[in-house]
Symmetry: C2
Subunit: 295 residues, 2 copies
Protein backbone atom coordinates (compact mmCIF):
# COMPACT_ATOMS: atom_id res chain seq x y z
CA UNK A 1 0.00 0.00 0.00
CA UNK A 2 1.28 3.47 -0.93
CA UNK A 3 0.90 5.86 2.03
CA UNK A 4 1.05 9.65 2.13
CA UNK A 5 1.64 11.59 5.35
CA UNK A 6 0.15 15.01 6.15
CA UNK A 7 1.43 17.10 9.06
CA UNK A 8 5.09 16.88 10.06
CA UNK A 9 5.04 18.42 13.53
CA UNK A 10 6.67 17.10 16.70
CA UNK A 11 4.63 13.88 16.54
CA UNK A 12 4.02 13.54 12.81
CA UNK A 13 7.65 13.73 11.72
CA UNK A 14 8.55 10.72 13.90
CA UNK A 15 5.48 8.78 12.83
CA UNK A 16 6.31 9.41 9.16
CA UNK A 17 9.86 8.17 9.71
CA UNK A 18 8.55 4.95 11.26
CA UNK A 19 6.25 4.40 8.28
CA UNK A 20 9.24 4.96 5.98
CA UNK A 21 11.31 2.47 7.99
CA UNK A 22 8.64 -0.15 7.31
CA UNK A 23 8.73 0.67 3.60
CA UNK A 24 5.20 2.04 3.50
CA UNK A 25 5.71 5.76 2.90
CA UNK A 26 5.45 7.28 -0.59
CA UNK A 27 4.98 11.02 -0.08
CA UNK A 28 4.69 13.75 2.54
CA UNK A 29 2.96 17.11 2.79
CA UNK A 30 3.14 19.88 5.35
CA UNK A 31 1.50 23.28 5.61
CA UNK A 32 4.96 24.81 5.69
CA UNK A 33 6.22 23.13 2.54
CA UNK A 34 9.86 23.29 3.67
CA UNK A 35 9.39 20.55 6.28
CA UNK A 36 7.97 18.20 3.66
CA UNK A 37 10.65 19.14 1.14
CA UNK A 38 13.46 18.50 3.62
CA UNK A 39 12.11 15.16 4.82
CA UNK A 40 11.34 14.02 1.25
CA UNK A 41 14.88 14.90 0.16
CA UNK A 42 16.38 13.06 3.14
CA UNK A 43 14.30 9.89 2.75
CA UNK A 44 13.89 9.82 -1.04
CA UNK A 45 10.14 10.50 -1.01
CA UNK A 46 7.84 12.70 -3.06
CA UNK A 47 6.71 16.07 -1.72
CA UNK A 48 3.78 17.13 -3.91
CA UNK A 49 2.76 20.78 -3.85
CA UNK A 50 -0.91 20.21 -3.02
CA UNK A 51 -2.99 17.80 -0.99
CA UNK A 52 -4.86 16.85 -4.17
CA UNK A 53 -1.57 15.83 -5.82
CA UNK A 54 -0.60 13.83 -2.72
CA UNK A 55 -3.99 12.10 -2.76
CA UNK A 56 -3.68 11.14 -6.42
CA UNK A 57 -0.61 9.00 -5.84
CA UNK A 58 -1.49 6.96 -2.72
CA UNK A 59 -3.91 4.34 -1.35
CA UNK A 60 -3.99 5.77 2.16
CA UNK A 61 -3.21 9.07 3.87
CA UNK A 62 -2.19 9.47 7.51
CA UNK A 63 -2.81 12.93 8.94
CA UNK A 64 -1.49 14.37 12.18
CA UNK A 65 -2.42 18.04 12.52
CA UNK A 66 -3.20 20.47 15.31
CA UNK A 67 -6.81 21.55 15.38
CA UNK A 68 -10.28 20.30 14.49
CA UNK A 69 -10.52 22.88 11.67
CA UNK A 70 -7.28 21.56 10.18
CA UNK A 71 -8.66 18.03 10.04
CA UNK A 72 -11.78 19.18 8.22
CA UNK A 73 -9.71 21.27 5.82
CA UNK A 74 -7.41 18.33 5.04
CA UNK A 75 -10.34 15.94 4.61
CA UNK A 76 -12.10 18.45 2.34
CA UNK A 77 -9.02 18.90 0.16
CA UNK A 78 -8.31 15.17 -0.09
CA UNK A 79 -11.90 14.04 -0.66
CA UNK A 80 -12.21 14.84 -4.39
CA UNK A 81 -8.77 13.43 -5.19
CA UNK A 82 -8.58 10.17 -3.22
CA UNK A 83 -9.52 7.05 -5.16
CA UNK A 84 -12.61 5.05 -4.22
CA UNK A 85 -11.64 2.45 -1.62
CA UNK A 86 -8.74 4.42 -0.20
CA UNK A 87 -8.28 5.40 3.47
CA UNK A 88 -7.80 8.53 5.52
CA UNK A 89 -6.32 7.73 8.92
CA UNK A 90 -6.41 10.79 11.16
CA UNK A 91 -4.09 10.65 14.18
CA UNK A 92 -4.94 14.16 15.37
CA UNK A 93 -6.80 14.65 18.66
CA UNK A 94 -10.21 16.19 17.90
CA UNK A 95 -13.81 16.08 19.04
CA UNK A 96 -15.65 12.90 18.10
CA UNK A 97 -18.05 15.05 16.08
CA UNK A 98 -15.20 16.40 13.99
CA UNK A 99 -14.23 12.83 13.15
CA UNK A 100 -17.81 12.09 12.11
CA UNK A 101 -17.94 15.21 9.93
CA UNK A 102 -14.64 14.29 8.26
CA UNK A 103 -15.94 10.76 7.64
CA UNK A 104 -19.06 12.21 6.04
CA UNK A 105 -16.99 14.44 3.73
CA UNK A 106 -15.11 11.38 2.49
CA UNK A 107 -17.94 8.86 2.36
CA UNK A 108 -19.43 10.44 -0.79
CA UNK A 109 -16.28 9.53 -2.71
CA UNK A 110 -16.10 6.01 -1.30
CA UNK A 111 -13.17 6.83 0.97
CA UNK A 112 -13.07 5.30 4.48
CA UNK A 113 -12.12 7.42 7.48
CA UNK A 114 -10.60 6.22 10.75
CA UNK A 115 -10.07 8.46 13.78
CA UNK A 116 -6.89 7.21 15.41
CA UNK A 117 -5.68 9.57 18.16
CA UNK A 118 -2.56 8.43 19.91
CA UNK A 119 -1.07 8.60 23.36
CA UNK A 120 2.53 8.19 24.41
CA UNK A 121 3.93 11.59 23.51
CA UNK A 122 6.90 12.51 21.36
CA UNK A 123 8.92 9.68 22.88
CA UNK A 124 6.28 7.12 21.90
CA UNK A 125 6.06 8.63 18.40
CA UNK A 126 9.83 8.37 17.95
CA UNK A 127 10.09 4.83 19.25
CA UNK A 128 6.93 3.56 17.55
CA UNK A 129 5.40 2.62 20.90
CA UNK A 130 2.28 4.80 20.75
CA UNK A 131 -1.07 3.57 22.01
CA UNK A 132 -3.49 4.13 19.14
CA UNK A 133 -7.24 4.35 19.86
CA UNK A 134 -9.24 3.79 16.69
CA UNK A 135 -12.79 4.44 15.56
CA UNK A 136 -14.21 3.32 12.22
CA UNK A 137 -15.46 0.36 10.23
CA UNK A 138 -13.83 -2.98 11.18
CA UNK A 139 -12.93 -3.69 7.55
CA UNK A 140 -11.19 -0.33 7.18
CA UNK A 141 -9.41 -0.86 10.50
CA UNK A 142 -8.03 -4.21 9.34
CA UNK A 143 -6.73 -2.63 6.13
CA UNK A 144 -5.15 0.15 8.19
CA UNK A 145 -3.59 -2.21 10.73
CA UNK A 146 -0.13 -2.55 9.08
CA UNK A 147 0.10 1.24 8.91
CA UNK A 148 -0.99 1.69 12.52
CA UNK A 149 1.33 -1.05 13.75
CA UNK A 150 4.26 0.69 12.07
CA UNK A 151 3.62 3.69 14.33
CA UNK A 152 2.27 2.20 17.57
CA UNK A 153 2.59 -0.77 19.88
CA UNK A 154 -1.02 -1.02 21.09
CA UNK A 155 -3.69 -0.61 18.44
CA UNK A 156 -7.33 -0.92 19.54
CA UNK A 157 -10.61 -0.43 17.67
CA UNK A 158 -13.28 0.96 20.01
CA UNK A 159 -16.25 1.21 17.65
CA UNK A 160 -17.56 3.38 14.80
CA UNK A 161 -16.00 6.67 13.69
CA UNK A 162 -15.56 8.96 16.70
CA UNK A 163 -14.90 6.13 19.17
CA UNK A 164 -11.15 6.60 19.06
CA UNK A 165 -11.56 10.25 20.02
CA UNK A 166 -14.04 9.32 22.77
CA UNK A 167 -11.56 6.84 24.25
CA UNK A 168 -8.75 9.38 24.15
CA UNK A 169 -10.98 12.02 25.76
CA UNK A 170 -11.80 9.56 28.56
CA UNK A 171 -8.10 9.10 29.20
CA UNK A 172 -7.48 12.86 29.24
CA UNK A 173 -10.24 13.39 31.81
CA UNK A 174 -8.62 10.79 34.08
CA UNK A 175 -5.19 12.40 33.68
CA UNK A 176 -6.68 15.77 34.65
CA UNK A 177 -8.27 14.54 37.87
CA UNK A 178 -5.27 12.46 38.84
CA UNK A 179 -2.72 15.23 38.37
CA UNK A 180 -4.91 17.51 40.47
CA UNK A 181 -5.18 14.87 43.20
CA UNK A 182 -1.45 14.13 43.21
CA UNK A 183 -0.57 17.84 43.20
CA UNK A 184 -2.95 18.68 46.03
CA UNK A 185 -1.83 15.69 48.11
CA UNK A 186 1.86 16.47 47.59
CA UNK A 187 1.39 20.13 48.52
CA UNK A 188 -0.41 19.00 51.68
CA UNK A 189 2.36 16.50 52.47
CA UNK A 190 5.08 19.11 52.03
CA UNK A 191 3.25 21.54 54.32
CA UNK A 192 3.05 18.74 56.91
CA UNK A 193 6.84 18.37 56.76
CA UNK A 194 6.77 14.76 55.57
CA UNK A 195 9.83 13.15 53.94
CA UNK A 196 8.54 13.21 50.37
CA UNK A 197 10.73 10.60 48.69
CA UNK A 198 9.86 8.08 51.40
CA UNK A 199 6.21 9.00 51.00
CA UNK A 200 6.28 8.39 47.23
CA UNK A 201 8.01 5.09 47.77
CA UNK A 202 5.47 3.92 50.36
CA UNK A 203 2.18 5.30 49.00
CA UNK A 204 3.22 4.39 45.46
CA UNK A 205 2.71 0.73 46.39
CA UNK A 206 -0.78 1.21 47.78
CA UNK A 207 -4.36 1.70 46.66
CA UNK A 208 -3.91 5.48 46.36
CA UNK A 209 -1.26 5.08 43.69
CA UNK A 210 -1.30 6.00 40.02
CA UNK A 211 1.11 6.25 37.10
CA UNK A 212 1.30 10.01 37.61
CA UNK A 213 2.09 9.72 41.31
CA UNK A 214 4.95 7.27 40.77
CA UNK A 215 6.37 9.03 37.69
CA UNK A 216 5.61 12.70 38.22
CA UNK A 217 5.41 13.32 42.00
CA UNK A 218 9.27 13.33 41.97
CA UNK A 219 9.04 16.46 39.75
CA UNK A 220 7.12 18.09 42.59
CA UNK A 221 9.83 17.19 45.11
CA UNK A 222 12.48 18.76 42.84
CA UNK A 223 10.31 21.75 41.83
CA UNK A 224 11.19 21.07 38.20
CA UNK A 225 8.61 20.12 35.56
CA UNK A 226 10.26 19.23 32.25
CA UNK A 227 7.82 18.13 29.51
CA UNK A 228 6.51 15.45 29.61
CA UNK A 229 2.94 16.16 28.72
CA UNK A 230 2.74 19.90 28.16
CA UNK A 231 0.16 21.96 30.03
CA UNK A 232 -1.00 23.75 26.90
CA UNK A 233 -1.55 20.47 25.01
CA UNK A 234 -3.56 18.94 27.83
CA UNK A 235 -5.55 22.19 28.02
CA UNK A 236 -6.33 21.82 24.29
CA UNK A 237 -7.48 18.23 24.83
CA UNK A 238 -9.61 19.20 27.84
CA UNK A 239 -11.30 21.91 25.79
CA UNK A 240 -12.32 19.12 23.41
CA UNK A 241 -13.63 17.08 26.37
CA UNK A 242 -15.61 20.14 27.48
CA UNK A 243 -17.20 20.44 24.03
CA UNK A 244 -17.98 16.72 23.86
CA UNK A 245 -19.69 16.87 27.28
CA UNK A 246 -21.52 20.08 26.36
CA UNK A 247 -23.32 18.17 23.61
CA UNK A 248 -25.03 16.26 26.45
CA UNK A 249 -25.76 19.53 28.24
CA UNK A 250 -23.14 18.54 30.82
CA UNK A 251 -20.36 20.49 32.50
CA UNK A 252 -17.73 18.16 33.96
CA UNK A 253 -16.29 19.37 37.30
CA UNK A 254 -12.82 17.83 36.92
CA UNK A 255 -12.47 19.16 33.38
CA UNK A 256 -13.65 22.67 34.26
CA UNK A 257 -11.40 22.91 37.28
CA UNK A 258 -8.30 21.79 35.46
CA UNK A 259 -9.01 24.09 32.49
CA UNK A 260 -9.02 26.96 35.00
CA UNK A 261 -5.78 25.74 36.62
CA UNK A 262 -4.09 25.35 33.23
CA UNK A 263 -5.26 28.81 32.09
CA UNK A 264 -3.55 30.22 35.18
CA UNK A 265 -0.34 28.25 34.53
CA UNK A 266 -0.28 29.33 30.86
CA UNK A 267 -0.86 32.97 31.86
CA UNK A 268 2.20 32.72 34.10
CA UNK A 269 4.37 31.27 31.34
CA UNK A 270 4.27 27.59 32.40
CA UNK A 271 2.33 26.30 29.39
CA UNK A 272 5.26 24.30 28.05
CA UNK A 273 5.98 22.57 31.34
CA UNK A 274 4.72 19.10 32.22
CA UNK A 275 1.21 18.97 33.71
CA UNK A 276 2.78 18.11 37.08
CA UNK A 277 3.46 21.88 37.23
CA UNK A 278 -0.10 22.00 38.65
CA UNK A 279 1.79 21.49 41.92
CA UNK A 280 2.92 25.14 41.64
CA UNK A 281 -0.66 26.33 42.23
CA UNK A 282 -1.48 23.79 44.93
CA UNK A 283 1.72 24.59 46.81
CA UNK A 284 0.78 28.27 46.85
CA UNK A 285 -2.35 27.43 48.81
CA UNK A 286 -0.05 26.70 51.73
CA UNK A 287 2.09 29.82 51.33
CA UNK A 288 0.67 32.55 53.60
CA UNK A 289 2.42 35.36 51.70
CA UNK A 290 0.51 34.43 48.58
CA UNK A 291 -2.89 33.40 49.84
CA UNK A 292 -3.01 36.01 52.56
CA UNK A 293 -4.58 33.78 55.16
CA UNK A 294 -1.63 32.81 57.32
CA UNK A 295 -0.43 29.52 58.72
Amino acid sequence: MRVGFVGLGAMGAHMARNLHREGQLTSVWSRTGEKAGALAAELGLQAPATLAQLAAGVDAVVSCVSADADVLEVAGALAPALATGSLLIDCSTTAADTARRAAELLRRGGVEFLDCPVSGGVEGAREGTLAIMAGGAPEAFERARPILEAMGRTVTLFGPVGSGQAAKATNQIMCAGIIEAVSEAMAFARAQGLPLEKLIDTLGKGAGSSWYFVHRAPNMVRGSFPAGFRVRLHAKDLAICRDMAARFGVSLPVVERMLAEYAELIARGHGDEDISATFRLKAELFEPDKNGSGG
Copy 2:
Protein backbone atom coordinates in the same frame (compact mmCIF):
# COMPACT_ATOMS: atom_id res chain seq x y z
CA MET B 1 6.64 -7.75 75.78
CA ARG B 2 3.11 -7.97 77.26
CA VAL B 3 0.62 -6.18 75.00
CA GLY B 4 -2.92 -5.00 75.68
CA PHE B 5 -5.40 -4.19 72.91
CA VAL B 6 -8.10 -1.51 73.10
CA GLY B 7 -10.94 -1.35 70.55
CA LEU B 8 -12.25 -4.56 69.00
CA GLY B 9 -14.16 -3.24 66.00
CA ALA B 10 -14.02 -4.50 62.41
CA MET B 11 -10.30 -3.73 62.16
CA GLY B 12 -9.18 -4.11 65.78
CA ALA B 13 -10.57 -7.61 66.34
CA HIS B 14 -8.46 -8.97 63.45
CA MET B 15 -5.38 -7.04 64.50
CA ALA B 16 -5.71 -8.38 68.07
CA ARG B 17 -5.97 -11.94 66.73
CA ASN B 18 -2.78 -11.48 64.74
CA LEU B 19 -0.96 -10.22 67.84
CA HIS B 20 -2.25 -13.26 69.73
CA ARG B 21 -1.03 -15.56 66.94
CA GLU B 22 2.46 -14.13 67.42
CA GLY B 23 2.21 -14.77 71.18
CA GLN B 24 2.31 -11.08 72.08
CA LEU B 25 -1.21 -10.41 73.39
CA THR B 26 -1.99 -10.41 77.13
CA SER B 27 -5.30 -8.62 77.54
CA VAL B 28 -8.10 -6.89 75.64
CA TRP B 29 -10.59 -4.11 76.38
CA SER B 30 -13.57 -2.78 74.49
CA ARG B 31 -16.12 -0.10 75.23
CA THR B 32 -18.82 -2.73 74.96
CA GLY B 33 -17.27 -5.14 77.45
CA GLU B 34 -18.93 -8.17 75.85
CA LYS B 35 -16.64 -8.08 72.81
CA ALA B 36 -13.57 -8.14 75.03
CA GLY B 37 -15.04 -10.83 77.27
CA ALA B 38 -15.88 -13.10 74.34
CA LEU B 39 -12.49 -12.70 72.65
CA ALA B 40 -10.64 -13.15 75.95
CA ALA B 41 -12.58 -16.36 76.69
CA GLU B 42 -11.89 -17.71 73.18
CA LEU B 43 -8.18 -16.94 73.17
CA GLY B 44 -7.38 -17.41 76.86
CA LEU B 45 -6.62 -13.74 77.55
CA GLN B 46 -7.47 -11.33 80.34
CA ALA B 47 -10.34 -8.86 79.94
CA PRO B 48 -9.90 -6.31 82.73
CA ALA B 49 -12.88 -4.13 83.62
CA THR B 50 -11.10 -0.78 83.25
CA LEU B 51 -8.43 0.75 81.05
CA ALA B 52 -6.38 1.45 84.20
CA GLN B 53 -6.43 -2.25 85.08
CA LEU B 54 -5.42 -3.14 81.52
CA ALA B 55 -2.55 -0.64 81.69
CA ALA B 56 -1.25 -2.04 84.96
CA GLY B 57 -0.51 -5.44 83.47
CA VAL B 58 1.20 -4.64 80.15
CA ASP B 59 4.32 -3.01 78.63
CA ALA B 60 2.50 -1.69 75.57
CA VAL B 61 -1.06 -0.92 74.50
CA VAL B 62 -2.35 -0.94 70.92
CA SER B 63 -5.51 1.10 70.39
CA CYS B 64 -7.80 1.09 67.37
CA VAL B 65 -10.86 3.23 67.99
CA SER B 66 -13.23 5.38 65.93
CA ALA B 67 -12.88 9.06 66.64
CA ASP B 68 -10.31 11.62 67.75
CA ALA B 69 -12.16 12.10 71.05
CA ASP B 70 -11.94 8.36 71.75
CA VAL B 71 -8.16 8.42 71.31
CA LEU B 72 -7.79 11.26 73.78
CA GLU B 73 -10.13 9.55 76.25
CA VAL B 74 -8.17 6.30 76.02
CA ALA B 75 -4.81 8.08 76.34
CA GLY B 76 -6.12 10.04 79.34
CA ALA B 77 -7.36 6.91 81.07
CA LEU B 78 -4.17 4.93 80.41
CA ALA B 79 -1.71 7.72 81.24
CA PRO B 80 -1.75 7.47 85.04
CA ALA B 81 -1.65 3.66 85.01
CA LEU B 82 0.98 2.81 82.38
CA ALA B 83 4.49 2.20 83.70
CA THR B 84 7.32 4.57 82.82
CA GLY B 85 8.95 3.38 79.61
CA SER B 86 5.85 1.70 78.24
CA LEU B 87 4.25 2.40 74.83
CA LEU B 88 0.88 3.46 73.47
CA ILE B 89 0.57 2.57 69.78
CA ASP B 90 -2.54 4.17 68.32
CA CYS B 91 -3.71 2.65 65.04
CA SER B 92 -6.80 4.87 64.77
CA THR B 93 -7.04 7.45 61.97
CA THR B 94 -7.08 10.92 63.55
CA ALA B 95 -5.81 14.44 62.95
CA ALA B 96 -2.07 14.84 63.45
CA ASP B 97 -2.84 17.33 66.23
CA THR B 98 -4.83 14.72 68.12
CA ALA B 99 -1.78 12.46 68.00
CA ARG B 100 0.37 15.27 69.36
CA ARG B 101 -2.13 15.94 72.17
CA ALA B 102 -2.25 12.26 73.11
CA ALA B 103 1.54 12.13 73.12
CA GLU B 104 1.62 15.12 75.45
CA LEU B 105 -0.84 13.48 77.86
CA LEU B 106 1.45 10.44 78.11
CA ARG B 107 4.83 12.15 78.11
CA ARG B 108 4.41 13.37 81.70
CA GLY B 109 4.35 9.76 82.89
CA GLY B 110 7.30 8.73 80.73
CA VAL B 111 5.12 6.81 78.27
CA GLU B 112 5.96 6.96 74.56
CA PHE B 113 3.21 7.47 71.98
CA LEU B 114 3.27 6.39 68.33
CA ASP B 115 0.57 7.31 65.82
CA CYS B 116 0.29 4.33 63.50
CA PRO B 117 -2.73 4.63 61.19
CA VAL B 118 -3.13 1.75 58.79
CA SER B 119 -4.34 1.18 55.27
CA GLY B 120 -5.45 -2.04 53.64
CA GLY B 121 -8.96 -2.37 55.04
CA VAL B 122 -10.58 -5.25 56.89
CA GLU B 123 -8.98 -7.73 54.51
CA GLY B 124 -5.51 -6.37 55.29
CA ALA B 125 -6.28 -6.42 59.02
CA ARG B 126 -7.39 -10.06 58.85
CA GLU B 127 -4.43 -11.22 56.78
CA GLY B 128 -1.85 -9.11 58.60
CA THR B 129 -0.92 -7.31 55.40
CA LEU B 130 -1.72 -3.75 56.47
CA ALA B 131 0.47 -0.82 55.49
CA ILE B 132 1.29 0.98 58.74
CA MET B 133 2.37 4.65 58.63
CA ALA B 134 4.09 5.60 61.87
CA GLY B 135 4.98 8.83 63.63
CA GLY B 136 7.04 9.03 66.83
CA ALA B 137 10.51 8.74 68.30
CA PRO B 138 12.83 6.34 66.40
CA GLU B 139 13.70 4.47 69.61
CA ALA B 140 10.02 3.95 70.46
CA PHE B 141 9.35 2.87 66.87
CA GLU B 142 12.08 0.21 67.05
CA ARG B 143 10.63 -1.13 70.30
CA ALA B 144 7.18 -1.21 68.69
CA ARG B 145 8.38 -2.86 65.48
CA PRO B 146 7.66 -6.51 66.49
CA ILE B 147 4.13 -5.48 67.45
CA LEU B 148 3.60 -3.55 64.20
CA GLU B 149 5.04 -6.34 62.10
CA ALA B 150 2.62 -8.81 63.66
CA MET B 151 -0.23 -6.72 62.24
CA GLY B 152 1.15 -5.29 58.98
CA ARG B 153 3.39 -6.09 56.05
CA THR B 154 4.80 -2.60 55.37
CA VAL B 155 5.81 -0.59 58.41
CA THR B 156 7.28 2.89 57.81
CA LEU B 157 8.34 5.63 60.21
CA PHE B 158 7.71 9.06 58.65
CA GLY B 159 8.93 11.36 61.42
CA PRO B 160 7.85 12.67 64.82
CA VAL B 161 4.42 12.10 66.40
CA GLY B 162 1.72 13.16 63.91
CA SER B 163 3.70 12.12 60.83
CA GLY B 164 1.89 8.81 60.47
CA GLN B 165 -1.44 10.62 60.40
CA ALA B 166 -0.07 13.18 57.93
CA ALA B 167 1.07 10.38 55.58
CA LYS B 168 -2.29 8.66 55.81
CA ALA B 169 -4.12 11.95 55.16
CA THR B 170 -1.98 12.47 52.05
CA ASN B 171 -3.03 9.08 50.77
CA GLN B 172 -6.71 9.77 51.46
CA ILE B 173 -6.55 13.04 49.50
CA MET B 174 -5.11 11.18 46.50
CA CYS B 175 -7.80 8.49 46.73
CA ALA B 176 -10.46 11.20 46.75
CA GLY B 177 -9.24 12.94 43.61
CA ILE B 178 -8.59 9.70 41.78
CA ILE B 179 -12.01 8.21 42.47
CA GLU B 180 -13.61 11.43 41.25
CA ALA B 181 -11.48 11.38 38.09
CA VAL B 182 -12.21 7.72 37.36
CA SER B 183 -15.93 8.16 38.04
CA GLU B 184 -16.23 11.24 35.84
CA ALA B 185 -14.22 9.64 33.02
CA MET B 186 -16.23 6.42 33.14
CA ALA B 187 -19.56 8.30 33.11
CA PHE B 188 -18.32 10.24 30.08
CA ALA B 189 -17.18 7.03 28.37
CA ARG B 190 -20.52 5.33 28.96
CA ALA B 191 -22.40 8.32 27.54
CA GLN B 192 -20.13 8.11 24.47
CA GLY B 193 -21.20 4.48 23.99
CA LEU B 194 -17.69 3.07 24.37
CA PRO B 195 -17.12 -0.63 25.11
CA LEU B 196 -16.17 -0.19 28.76
CA GLU B 197 -14.34 -3.45 29.49
CA LYS B 198 -12.10 -2.92 26.46
CA LEU B 199 -11.53 0.65 27.59
CA ILE B 200 -10.44 -0.42 31.09
CA ASP B 201 -8.14 -3.03 29.58
CA THR B 202 -6.50 -0.52 27.22
CA LEU B 203 -6.34 2.67 29.31
CA GLY B 204 -5.37 0.63 32.38
CA LYS B 205 -1.97 0.07 30.76
CA GLY B 206 -1.31 3.75 30.03
CA ALA B 207 -0.27 6.95 31.77
CA GLY B 208 -3.86 7.73 32.81
CA SER B 209 -4.06 4.59 34.90
CA SER B 210 -4.34 4.14 38.64
CA TRP B 211 -5.03 1.38 41.16
CA TYR B 212 -8.62 2.59 41.46
CA PHE B 213 -9.19 2.57 37.69
CA VAL B 214 -7.94 -0.99 37.26
CA HIS B 215 -9.62 -2.37 40.41
CA ARG B 216 -12.80 -0.33 40.81
CA ALA B 217 -13.85 0.89 37.33
CA PRO B 218 -15.29 -2.63 36.78
CA ASN B 219 -17.73 -1.86 39.64
CA MET B 220 -18.94 1.07 37.53
CA VAL B 221 -19.50 -1.18 34.52
CA ARG B 222 -21.59 -3.55 36.65
CA GLY B 223 -23.37 -0.79 38.57
CA SER B 224 -22.52 -2.61 41.82
CA PHE B 225 -20.30 -1.13 44.53
CA PRO B 226 -19.61 -3.67 47.29
CA ALA B 227 -17.28 -2.39 50.06
CA GLY B 228 -14.31 -2.08 49.56
CA PHE B 229 -13.54 1.22 51.14
CA ARG B 230 -16.81 2.55 52.51
CA VAL B 231 -18.01 6.02 51.52
CA ARG B 232 -18.75 7.00 55.13
CA LEU B 233 -15.26 5.98 56.30
CA HIS B 234 -13.53 7.92 53.55
CA ALA B 235 -15.78 10.88 54.37
CA LYS B 236 -14.62 10.66 58.00
CA ASP B 237 -10.97 10.62 56.88
CA LEU B 238 -11.51 13.56 54.51
CA ALA B 239 -13.08 15.58 57.32
CA ILE B 240 -9.77 15.06 59.16
CA CYS B 241 -7.86 16.22 56.06
CA ARG B 242 -10.09 19.29 55.93
CA ASP B 243 -9.27 20.09 59.57
CA MET B 244 -5.54 19.54 59.05
CA ALA B 245 -5.54 21.88 56.03
CA ALA B 246 -7.66 24.44 57.88
CA ARG B 247 -4.82 24.85 60.40
CA PHE B 248 -2.88 26.41 57.50
CA GLY B 249 -5.86 28.56 56.57
CA VAL B 250 -6.32 26.38 53.49
CA SER B 251 -9.39 24.85 51.88
CA LEU B 252 -8.46 21.96 49.58
CA PRO B 253 -10.59 21.79 46.40
CA VAL B 254 -10.41 18.02 45.92
CA VAL B 255 -11.24 17.38 49.57
CA GLU B 256 -14.13 19.83 49.65
CA ARG B 257 -15.67 18.51 46.45
CA MET B 258 -15.51 14.89 47.52
CA LEU B 259 -16.90 15.67 50.98
CA ALA B 260 -19.90 17.20 49.18
CA GLU B 261 -20.24 14.16 46.88
CA TYR B 262 -20.02 11.75 49.81
CA ALA B 263 -22.58 13.74 51.82
CA GLU B 264 -24.97 13.31 48.90
CA LEU B 265 -24.25 9.58 48.62
CA ILE B 266 -24.72 9.09 52.39
CA ALA B 267 -27.99 11.07 52.29
CA ARG B 268 -29.23 8.67 49.63
CA GLY B 269 -28.31 5.59 51.66
CA HIS B 270 -25.06 4.67 49.85
CA GLY B 271 -22.70 5.36 52.76
CA ASP B 272 -21.78 1.71 53.19
CA GLU B 273 -20.95 1.17 49.53
CA ASP B 274 -17.41 1.36 48.12
CA ILE B 275 -16.21 4.85 47.18
CA SER B 276 -16.50 3.85 43.51
CA ALA B 277 -20.24 4.54 44.08
CA THR B 278 -19.24 8.13 43.27
CA PHE B 279 -19.96 6.94 39.72
CA ARG B 280 -23.69 7.08 40.61
CA LEU B 281 -23.53 10.89 40.84
CA LYS B 282 -21.29 11.37 37.79
CA ALA B 283 -23.50 9.12 35.67
CA GLU B 284 -26.53 11.23 36.59
CA LEU B 285 -24.90 14.25 34.97
CA PHE B 286 -25.53 12.52 31.66
CA GLU B 287 -29.14 11.54 32.40
CA PRO B 288 -31.44 14.26 31.05
CA ASP B 289 -34.37 13.14 33.23
CA LYS B 290 -32.35 13.89 36.32
CA ASN B 291 -30.34 16.96 35.42
CA GLY B 292 -33.12 18.51 33.38
CA SER B 293 -30.82 19.82 30.66
CA GLY B 294 -31.26 17.25 27.92
CA GLY B 295 -28.83 15.61 25.55
